[in-house]
Amino acid sequence: MSHPEAAPGRPSHAHPNYILIWVFLAVLTGLELTVAFLPWPKTVIVFILIGMAFWKAALVGLYYMHLRFEPNRLRILAIAPLPLFAVLVCAVITEFIW
């Protein structure tokens, strides 16, 4: 039987390159600012911006919150609300699509 960790101790994995992740986040933020004001169709810009925002959020979740290195059960707990988030947003958007 696997026992839960009593308290955090030495990491079971090497530290990820946190500075590199920070550079990615900063670059993506700069790209977002550039894309937001490009003379492209609004729909294209919205999809790109939301994609980049979720990419940044995933980097924070996986590496800064260490979800990449956590047990599967905790990962499931963490991502469980996300389908509900998607359902809610899609449901309210349908009001204006159909």
């Binding site: 920070w22 925002a53 800064y64």
Partner: protein, 207 residues
Amino acid sequence: MAHAAAVQEDVMLPPPSRAPGAGVYSEKLGMWIFLGSEVMFFTALIGTYVILRFAHPDAWAGHPKPHTPLNIPVTAVNTFLLICSSVTMVKAFAAAQDGIQRQLRLWLLATVLIGATFVGVQVYEYTHLIEHGFVPSQGLFGSTFYTMTGFHGFHVTMGVLCMIYVTMKAFRGKYTQADHRGVEVIGLYWHFVDLVWIILFTIVYLI
């Protein structure tokens, strides 16, 4: 007699325990469950924003523009600050894992300072917007903007206060390489607040 006593003892014993939680210690599991509820809270806010924005596009006419009414360059700098505070927070956690007390304290202190600066810039932004007539009662844009960013700012403020407490404990040497639960748990909260701002910045300011 001895047999009867043994049977009685067995009956009194609790059922064998299963592996509790999700393989992590209780405080961390509790924080993750709390963060799950926070996801749903911010989902409700974002969902409301989406439906109102689609239903009343006129209320957002002309948005986004770099300087009217929101000052996007200033907020972009603030976003960068929050990202910086996330890296200082995670570096503090790594220092705690490695048992390097001096780095732990310095990174925590940096996180507090950057977090407080974020709140200060948001207060400046609000003051500036209100002076120029962009108030919550102005319309849907104003009310949703202040509701979403206000709740987020409240979360950041609470995070800074908790971080001050954790930093004071770190300066008293309460966190060791073997046990630094407080640093990890407040770190999870702090990164979550950063993550939410990443989404809000895009939805409220850039789209």
